[in-house]
Symmetry: D2
Subunit: 404 residues, 4 copies
């Protein structure tokens, strides 16, 4: 287990920090300003385009993609510190073409796409010309058990027909978003095997696709919002199926590992920003004649946050290293572990920062309230804590071990 950074990574880190401080972080208020003036809340503000050009110019483009034919060819371990830095601002991953859910979709298309699918959908994504969404979760069933997914897929000659309701299809409302990858059931309800679901590329312009609404998250709406999408007898050619009919679960597994670890890496960056804000605030704010930083309870918040972050980061690095050495499947328990750990650490660290800021912490004068909403959501997205906890427990219970 070797976490030493290569010189390439160190150089990229430096360049990314420059990009962050020179371009991304100053752009945040501009983006807010521009967004407030746009008619369509889901349209990206103009400055995002500038940031994208700038990132590309600086060689900070598609860093997430381990396949060096299409992307930067970094290992997960190499990408980790870069993804963490990008997590300091919500604008950075978009600027660098490293934002979910496109990253997962690109990953799938690289690994499972036909040359035709790659030409039509992967290339414009890699170029940052279009965006995409991922339609898996459903409002009517407990999607934590993926076998519950009920959206129907019927084969009809050389077409497939999809019917169902999805939500948390993030980004579907953006005018840039051109297609969804949809997970649908190819067997009758009630069948519970691992060949019963299929992934299909569905252009959003297809007849029968309707983005019915966007869902606020703790009152936060807009941006690359979470959408509810109705698929009503949506017919697409069989050639839009990813892999074969029934391959859906296998592909989902492949997609989830990297997606989850990227979320974790970025969440650490978000936490570091919250932590820095907290340390700064408590040093300046005076109560009873002394800075808050002198209070024992505040010191405990700071030390616990640092200890939790440091431990979580090390496990994220180990997980990245395992994905690189034994593969996504071999690292799946570690992925489950960091998924749970980072979401909870983030919830606690940001919560402490909010408390340190007092009333200001729950407003939008600082990024903390939005971070807390995001951190809370991480405990649910990509499988709630409880599903991952059970998976880890069962694996541990199944191991041979010395009992004395």
């Amino acid at each position: 287990m070797d976490f030493e950074k290569s010189s390439r990574v160190k150089k990229l880190e430096e360049e990314l920090w420059s990009f962050m401080t020179e371009a991304v972080l100053p752009a945040e208020s501009v983006a807010r300003e521009q967004r407030s003036k746009l008619q369509d809340p889901h349209e990206p503000p103009h400055i995002v385009d500038e940031l994208k050009s700038e990132a590309r110019r600086r060689g900070l483009w598609n860093l997430f993609l381990p396949d060096d034919r299409f992307g930067a060819g970094l290992t997960n371990l190499e990408y980790a510190p870069l993804a963490e830095i990008s997590g300091w601002s919500e604008l950075a991953p978009i600027a660098m073409n490293c934002a979910a859910p496109d990253t997962g979709n690109m990953e799938i298309l690289v690994r499972f796409g036909t040359p035709e699918q790659q030409g039509r959908w992967l290339e414009p994504l890699l170029e940052g010309e279009i965006r995409s969404c991922f339609s898996m979760t459903e409002p009517d069933v407990a999607s934590s058990d993926a076998t519950n997914i009920a959206t129907r897929l019927e084969v009809d000659g050389d077409h497939v027909v999809i019917s169902g309701r999805k939500w948390f299809t993030s980004g579907a409302a953006s005018p840039l978003c051109k297609f969804a990858i949809v997970m649908a059931r190819n067997t009758p309800e009630g069948v519970r095997d691992h060949r019963s679901h299929t992934m299909v590329i569905v252009p959003l312009s297809t007849e029968g696709v309707e983005v019915t609404r966007t869902l606020p998250v703790f009152g936060y709406d807009g941006g690359h919002g979470h959408c509810e999408v109705l698929y009503k007898d949506v017919r697409v050619p069989m050639s839009n199926v990813l892999g074969e009919i029934g391959d859906g679960f296998g592909i989902a597994q492949a997609r989830l590992g990297p997606g989850r670890i990227h979320h974790c890496m970025r969440a650490l960056g978000m936490c570091e920003r919250a932590f820095a804000l907290m340390c700064d605030r408590v040093g300046r704010r005076i109560a009873w004649g002394r800075p808050l930083a002198d209070q024992g309870v505040v010191q405990q918040w700071i030390a616990e946050s640092r200890m939790e972050l440091e431990q979580a980061r090390l496990l994220v690095l180990k997980t990245a290293w395992m994905m690189d050495t034994v593969g996504n499947r071999g690292a799946s328990l570690e992925v489950s572990a960091i998924k749970v750990i980072v979401a909870n650490v983030a919830s606690r660290v940001v919560d402490r920062a909010v408390q340190a800021f007092g009333a200001a912490g729950v407003t939008d004068d600082f990024p903390l309230a939005a971070m807390l909403a995001r951190a809370r959501t991480l405990r649910i997205a990509d499988g709630p804590d409880e599903v991952h906890v059970r998976r880890i427990a069962k694996a541990e219970l199944g191991r041979e071990r010395l009992v004395v």
Copy 2:
């Protein structure tokens, strides 16, 4: 310590439940609908007026006010279960003219207002014709230490002149809101005694008063929002001062006790609603072939929530009973304790409900996300947890006790 309910209270409870189920709860979706169509997000939807009339008709008006010349004349202990029921819906306290910050303002005016002040400001409040706000917290200082409050008050002949910036002046943006009670410093900065602050009634129409913006809380805006208010050389007659110059702290203390316990009572009602939603959801939602309710971890959430709620409620009742028997000052440690306990219990109970709902829990399809935002805010409002914890500790450390 006798928590037995009188027959009057039992009857009011029944009537309040009828009002809730027949009028208030069904009005929630109507209010949402109406609000979405109003130009001014701070204007109350029309249905609120109907609910107010209805509450009054049913004898559910001004129940919060222990003074029977002006209100229902219920003790705190008697009001507790009624306030809890009203906490099930954000509309109920407004409908019943029992909503903060008006309740605190009415309480002050009853206890410290001159007949003239009562005639001009208290009466229309009691009638529900106007609303009011309370301007204490400031963005530029740690208001957890109230001696930090920096807004200036200068006596100028028979007028006082106020200058400063306040925030979390909830409700100031509502067209119904006619005046603020402002806390201001009558001594030079740095003086730390208990006669250095003063409360003044300031009509919002006074020259120099400007509601500069409303502050979102976790992305939630609108409604009776939290406002930032700039007071720029605001001149009001000396007769608008509550009590004497320098009485501010004393009056604030008197105001805080009832305000805090009302928040606690209502928060328990909010928790019970979240708890009911959780119990219902986990009974219906199926994962891996069984309802979520069969999972041990879910059962733990339910049992812990019940145990925490039950204990918190008993302490709230005890606190109410103490306020009734030994006075607000005598019960001040208990008030601090329930302030901390209920805010934290609410955060945990609602958080569990959100987790049980999965993705739906963070949207606005259910009231849980908004509740979680509110619960989180309770840990900061009216003094952050840490201030109350310290106060309790110091009191305990100061007691004589048997040491063996």
Copy 3:
């Protein structure tokens, strides 16, 4: 719900405090001294006899027994504050003839014993002449599920024959202990109904009864120790059966309610003693030039302990009040709740006190280490937390409730 203390209770409280400070607490070091010189570690030190006489003389005898033919005739709510006081010292319950497991056994004999059983076993117990034990838990099965209990009972004419191994049969090794109440299975293994277990009075002198060893608890041994008892074809007359064959579960249920609440009450007293020690210590101990009491983290320990204790006590009182008004069965969920709550509160409060004492806290120079061991055991004894939590959850899940 009326927690007001009657004048009789107030008087008993005063007298009990006098007894504690004049007799019991000063006797602790004497008892330790005497015990260190006894050959048999399970023999009570002589001073216990003196304390018993003294308690009786002061009218502090058999207070636990609600039946006024045999005991003090106090309600549970009346006994609660007295039991709490007695929890300050392990010697007090024994001195007052209010110690487990005799209290539970006396309770059973009062309610289910035949006149003959009462004459032979109950009377000397009530007089404090003998002691008794309770043989339920078994080392070889998970006794948290009582249906697992495997000790066999065979009816043989007008005798029953018992075979099995029990442990945590507390007190069996004491020379004063004359009989056990044994829970045994009257149906073949695997049968799971509520008529399959029976309670039998077994004199310890019966052939086949062997106290094989005493079990240390966290290294603490001696005193009224926890014993392993082997029952090898133990034959006693049918008239020793409590109630009928198959009544065991019903009687166990009746026994557990009062037993559990008494444990809770006494545990609160133990916590108050630990709390007092902590407050005193942190006021005297200096680090970095200031008493530990000035440290924010220490203040948090104190405030949280007070808040937890106060809430737990109120719920214990409510539970006692319910047992008095709706019966043990009607209060069974509340009993489960306080069982869990108090054991955990005690673990936390005592743990904080230990931490405040530093190295001294884990030694026997102060009673804290022994208290922590006892508190930890409470989370397991009389059913582990998890069993009670599940019971509460299932009851909540089964209730009708308003869901909005």
Copy 4:
């Protein structure tokens, strides 16, 4: 940061596991048996000598010592996995001559001892012929603030005279223990500088040294017990001073880093043993017809334990790597962090195992109760959690950082 194990370490790991399973673990019951028959509870059982010879024969001797003139010459990172394995049994560190407090004393003597001191005291320690103790903590002051240490040291010509009372001088009662390293104050009380304490080698046979008692820890006594030692005008030659008068703090710092990380490593091994016992138990124990392992709450215990252990181990490894690369001082915050983290993780992991074992968990039929006592003590030994937490917080607060 490279955690890869060298082939030497892998080979030592294998050999150590063989030693554990073939010799150490089977010796535990023998040692218990032998100890129960010894007159002196502080005399090591005979089998310890056999284990020492065996460890030496297998090349598992003095592995802790990074200095390859005297010990194995392993880095901290190399020693970490070996120390963890040795933590599975309390006998292993003694058998391998890697037990505290001798390791710290040897480390000091290697680094600060004169050749004469090394010849007289270090060599027999390295040979395992004698043992030693460390006299720092005092019963009368808060030793968490080391400047409180009050034992007096007076220089009298070419001798020093020591007077004071120490406790938690572990091992002093063992007949093998030949000397103490004593920390004493060379300046008047009240002086608070970092040259005011001195370390001195004091042979236990010196006149005026009296081991007054051994202190039980949670009821556990015996073994290499914690002693109270009275130093009454104890006169030793100036040549027994380590370094110079006033060097005490500097040497203590040097001693604490390795000592703390060794404790952490071994504690992880202890936790893994508890974890293995828990996993095994819950797989076998049946309640309500299913193994405990099927219960969601039990699964949560297992997953949380694994996640906590994995994270703690990674931070221990990072800390070891830092000690190797930037020195003990450079790694001092990480040492503080793992000190706090591992002690708390151990307390939680072992506590869960105890709960999973039910009543058996608090007895001595399994090693869990003793482990819980030890884990609890770790939160106090070598500085309580709170001291380390504050140190970490202050360092974080002092850093320059990007605040946006």
